[in-house]
Amino acid sequence: MKLAELTLLVTLILSLALMLTFAYNYLAPTPEVRNLALFYLITTYNPQLPYYTVNSPEAVTAIVWDYRGLDTLFETAVFYLALIAGLALARRLYRENPVSFLSTNGGLSIIVKTVTKITSPMIIAVGASIGLHGHLTPGGGFQGGATIAVAPMVIIITFSVFYLLTRKVTTEKMLLIRSIGLIGIGLTAISVFIIGLAAGRLAFVFQNMPKANAPMGLPGQVNGVLISGTLWFFNLFEMLAVAAGFTMAFAVLMLAGKER
């Protein structure tokens, strides 16, 4: 037992030293930035370089869903696997009876309830704005979805979890919305490839803008309004999937152990 702890500590110190050795150059930031970052910053929205640009002023979303899109796809897969593993653990612990009673004595006082009634639409509006403007201003699918997921959480806490069920927000519906989001992400990822197949041209999976040897791509602008090709669709579907997945997880977590 003692030996294990000591080994752990020594390993910890050694790995910390290793990390610091690699990070020596970065200990204090400099006014310069790495060349890769310069490439991203210059090409992210630059109509003068049509074969490199993503047509999105937001460099972070451009990296997340275009330059490194495949990484994000598999990270999304990890996220959903963790969620599904959690739900599988709680499978036998909850049951969604069609609840008949409308809880009036559950939850917090009437003041908090009224304030929550006004602010929940505001929360969803703010979240939708964050998600749908992900390619223009800071934000994106993950941020918008996580923001929207706070609204059902606050409603569950202030009213009751049964209130959400009487409002017909059940886990089946949330599962449906989440699946729509996932299928949307998958279809968007291969959309340009399918268009290329139909047109008989060369096109890649996870392609967004036309490239030099693959002249297919979704439009960067519609009627003078930037939508940045696939980024808009990715943000929309990711927002739906994240919000629905978290809402489902909260409802199950609250219902667990309340078999009546």
Binding site: I123, T137, V154, I157, V161
Partner: protein, 89 residues
């Protein structure tokens, strides 16, 4: 002139935040700590908006509204836990 005033006021806000942090860390009951965190957050909102004016970066203002909304969530979590002992009821 305006920029110097903004900088000075932001230093005052930082001092207030540091003073409130002492209460948030030591406060005898849970309620004191949550109240101190509330006040810290509201001071932080002003600090953030002040600095987004100071940096001349309007998009940094976006983060103020979520901060104000979520700290309310923390309030009602703790309130419900203390009141009912069960967050789903």
């Amino acid at each position: 002139m305006i920029w110097e005033i903004i900088l000075a006021i932001s230093i005052i806000y930082t001092i207030a935040i540091a003073l409130l942090t002492v209460i948030a860390l030591k406060g005898p009951t849970l309620g004191d700590q949550v109240l101190a965190i509330d006040t810290i957050t509201y001071a932080t909102v002003v600090l953030m908006v002040l600095f987004s004016v100071f940096f001349k970066e309007p998009i940094l203002t976006v983060v103020a509204i979520p901060l104000a909304l979520w700290i309310y969530a923390l309030d009602i979590y703790v309130a419900k836990y203390l009141e009912k002992g069960d967050l789903g009821a």
